[in-house]
């Protein structure tokens, strides 16, 4: 929060996760129902399909200072919209390439998480949190 003094505690990343409505959002729900604890570093933004995530959304999030962006969709072959996730895969990979030039590519991750993979959802968040912790805070923040 703005009014608080800078914390001396360990860096806690801010991660934004775009989850598709049908698989990954439901997977996150299942993680909750199953009480699989994971770090409170992630905020979920629901989209209908992972293919709705525009590269501009990712750039905007990183520009705002988000430390990591996760896009989660249905497994290939399981997409509620037949092959939206394949489109997402192409777009995210291209965005990653562009981000590589800025050295930000490791802050973007694409994962397939089904509605039954609550445990996997919590593991992905745990793992991504650790990775971002190693990377440290988003350098864009300092520029700002």
């Amino acid at each position: 929060m703005n009014e608080q003094a800078p914390k001396t505690t360990e860096f806690e990343p801010n991660i934004l996760a775009f989850c598709c409505n049908w698989c990954s959002y439901a997977g996150a729900d299942l993680a909750g129902v199953s009480r699989f604890q994971y770090p409170p570093t992630v905020r979920i933004l629901r989209v209908m399909c992972s293919s709705r995530v525009e590269p501009a959304f990712i750039l905007k999030a990183l520009k705002e200072g988000t430390d990591g962006v996760l896009i989660a969709g249905c497994h290939i072959g399981d997409c509620h919209y037949i092959d939206g996730n394949k489109n997402a895969e192409v777009r995210i990979n291209n965005t990653k390439k562009a981000l590589a030039k800025l050295g930000l590519d490791k802050r973007l991750r694409l994962e397939w998480i089904s509605a039954s993979e609550g445990l996997r959802f919590s593991e992905v968040i745990r793992d991504f949190t650790e990775e971002i912790k190693k990377l440290g805070q988003n350098p864009v923040k300092e520029v700002k």
């Binding site: 699989f36 989209v47 037949i82």
Partner: protein, 669 residues
């Protein structure tokens, strides 16, 4: 914007007022949220955000009083946007949409924020951080809510015909119920006969009635019903369309004989010189290359197994009616239906030697399904249970429960039926041959539902022994071929060395090979057990996330026969809501094209998986066909000019969330 092919109606879109007045309702969900998140602090913070006119904390926002509170505050504060921070929208979004709609607000003016499944439940021991997170999530929701736009739900016509995939007992029940209500039903079955797994069982628990004696009449009833068209030996190959109007392509596999001429007399089988293991009897005994699947088959027609046929043409000579046709090719039907019921069944777990006590290495270890066929009077041995090594009738019979169930190395779930069928199998053999001695080795005995515990007691009274423990070592005596089992009796706390003439494995329920194909055709999800997933495990157990598609029987999780039959009826009942009303309400979330910005490049047309975008050749602009659009938004992302927008997920709405997700610490420059 174009709305070809659909009449739109539903909620009338009222003019939206310019000032956004947001009400935020934070639910405690008993202690589910309130026990972790400081809801009061959250509400106080949210109340300071611009545009938020009122906040409220409720013990249960979904309750009558919680909903009344929302409605009252809409009135008092003249709210035009409502944010509910509670559980998952998958559970209660429709509830609150209806709640605000009653107050004259467009239902899409609701923003649902998940602070239970995505917050309090997963940060149970980090109360402060969970509270901060809840604030972030709701702030995102408030900013989005202010930008929400009114939408109209569409109404699509429903063709009053149904497709049932799978003609086991659940599928047959669904088909019969729908047909009796007057709807036409296509019943597609991949095997040459309807009946499913139940046709193979000997007797069924807990009452031990003869399985085929109760199933047979039902099969005949299905065949006799004028409203049911059986498509046996057929498979669904393509599914297109949406609720109310599915176009389905069904492949009819060649039987290599004319079904209209065949009478099922089986003279062809008598003439056929080829013998192969009989799959209906789990590989015991043989059948011919041309055969009638089983005596009660419906339709009672032969089928030629081309893989094993040696083309000697003996069957063609034997057939008095000239029904045989060796050159038959697959044929296809295109059918149009309004709803689809998937009752696609299961298979039993296939044991393997290393893990499953040497099954396959030692002759005298069989599966319960094999035991079932041996026990059956119409089975390969005429109802005499014999051991495979020497065809002698066993005296000492061991049963091992939970093979392929409740086991970390195979499947962790309970198959639900194995305890009961093992109890039944031991009982039946004991009744047939009282001199036999039975030992059931179990982890737990599970006997819910009427008559099940009584059946268990009956087995005990008959003298069947129950030993709590799982075999640790299973060997074969090379001379006698008897099975030597070392097992810990965990109730007595002793190691026992037992010798059996026959060991029967209670194999569990697993998905069959075809499940992936049907899952992808119908666009369904799979659960952790590999079977198909229902829309909600408790409140919508036979619905799926796809409108107009329902699931019955073991396709959506292990079940016994009464449960599967109930689900068949439940599916018929759910489907009738659509079939009878002849219309379905579809989501208002679709892509929308702005003709002023569109340059007619056509990128969106190639991206759309549902062929929902058509080019208006005259104007050179893309048009979205609302009835076909599913609202995924892939075209929106692809559009190079920004002419396409996804309603309810417009760029500005998503960007508002991104911008407000974290309150970043400003670094002083």
């Amino acid at each position: 914007m174009s709305e070809t092919g659909t009449e739109t109606k539903g909620t009338e879109v009222k003019k939206d007022s310019d000032e956004k007045r947001v009400g935020v309702f934070v639910c405690e969900c008993g202690v589910n949220i309130g026990g972790v998140v400081n809801t009061r602090a959250v509400a106080d913070y949210i109340g300071t955000l611009p545009g938020v006119k009122v906040t409220s904390v409720n013990k249960f926002t979904c309750s009558d009083s919680g909903q009344a509170d929302i409605q009252q505050k809409i009135k008092e504060h003249n709210l035009n946007r409502v944010v509910v921070a509670a559980c998952s929208p998958k559970t209660h979004e429709p509830t609150f949409r209806a709640c605000i709609e009653q107050m004259g607000l467009n239902q899409y003016f609701l923003e649902f924020v998940n602070i239970r499944d995505h917050c309090s439940w997963i940060h149970m021991w980090e109360k402060e951080k969970a509270t901060e997170k809840a604030k972030d999530l709701i702030r995102m929701g408030v900013e989005r809510a202010k930008l929400l736009e009114p939408l109209q739900a569409s109404e699509v016509p429903v063709i009053d015909k149904a497709l049932v995939v799978g003609a086991g007992v659940a599928g047959m029940q669904a088909a019969l119920d729908l047909a009796d209500m007057g709807f036409q039903v296509y019943l597609v079955e991949k095997e040459p006969s309807i009946g499913g797994r139940m046709a193979r069982f000997d007797k069924v628990f807990p009452t031990n009635d003869c399985s085929i004696c109760i199933l047979g009449p039902k099969m005949v009833e299905v065949a006799r019903n004028k409203n049911i068209k059986i498509m046996s030996y057929s498979e669904v190959k393509e599914v297109e369309g949406y609720v109310g109007n599915f176009n389905v392509k069904v492949e009819h596999k060649p039987r290599y004989l004319d079904i209209a001429k065949c009478t099922g007399c089986a003279k062809c089988s008598e003439a056929c010189p080829v013998e192969v293991p009989y799959d209906f009897n789990e590989g015991f005994g043989t059948r011919k290359a041309i055969f009638v699947p089983f005596p009660q088959a419906v339709p009672l027609r032969a089928v030629l197994d081309k893989e094993n046929c040696i083309s000697c043409k003996a069957c063609a000579k034997a057939c008095e009616r000239g029904a045989i046709d060796y050159d038959m090719k697959p044929t296809y039907s295109d059918i149009n239906v309004g709803v689809i019921i998937g009752a696609v069944g299961f298979k039993t777990y296939d044991p393997e030697p290393k893990h499953d006590f040497g099954y396959g290495l030692y002759d005298n270890i069989i599966t319960a399904m094999e035991f079932e066929r041996l026990l059956n009077a119409a089975g390969p041995t005429g109802g005499h249970v014999v051991r495979p090594s020497d065809c002698k009738e066993p005296i000492r019979v061991g049963f091992v429960n939970c093979v392929g169930s409740r086991d970390k190395n195979t499947n962790i779930y309970c198959s639900g039926v194995c305890c009961m069928y093992t109890i039944k199998n031991a009982q039946l053999l004991k009744e047939k041959r009282p001199e036999t001695d039975h030992t059931v080795m179990y982890i737990d005995i599970r006997t819910p539902f009427r008559g099940y515990e009584e059946s268990y007691n009956r087995s005990r009274n008959l003298g069947v022994k129950f030993l709590r423990g799982r075999p640790v070592e299973v060997k074969e005596d090379p001379n006698t071929k008897n099975i030597l089992v070392r097992v810990e009796d965990t109730l007595a706390g002793e190691i026992r060395n037992l010798e059996f003439d026959l060991l029967v494995l209670a194999t569990g329920i697993v998905p069959h090979e075809g499940i992936n194909q049907i899952q992808q055709l119908l666009k369904l999800s799979k659960a952790a057990d590999g079977l198909l997933m229902e829309a909600h495990p408790k409140l919508r157990p036979v619905d799926t996330t796809i409108d107009g598609v329902f699931l019955a029987g073991v396709a959506s999780g292990p079940k016994d026969i009464p449960y599967a039959v109930s689900q068949g009826s439940a599916c018929a009942s759910r489907a009738t809501i659509l079939l009878k009303n002849k219309k379905a309400i579809t989501e208002g979330i679709t892509a929308v094209a702005n003709p002023d910005v569109c340059v007619g490049c056509g990128v969106c047309i190639s991206m759309c998986p549902f062929q929902a975008i058509k080019m208006d050749e005259q104007a050179g602009k893309a048009n979205v066909v609302k009835a076909l659009c599913k609202g995924c938004g892939t075209c929106v992302t692809a559009c190079p000019t920004g002419a396409l927008e996804q309603s309810h997920f417009k760029n500005n709405q998503v960007l508002a969330q991104i911008k407000n997700v974290f309150k970043f610490q400003e670094v002083a420059v």
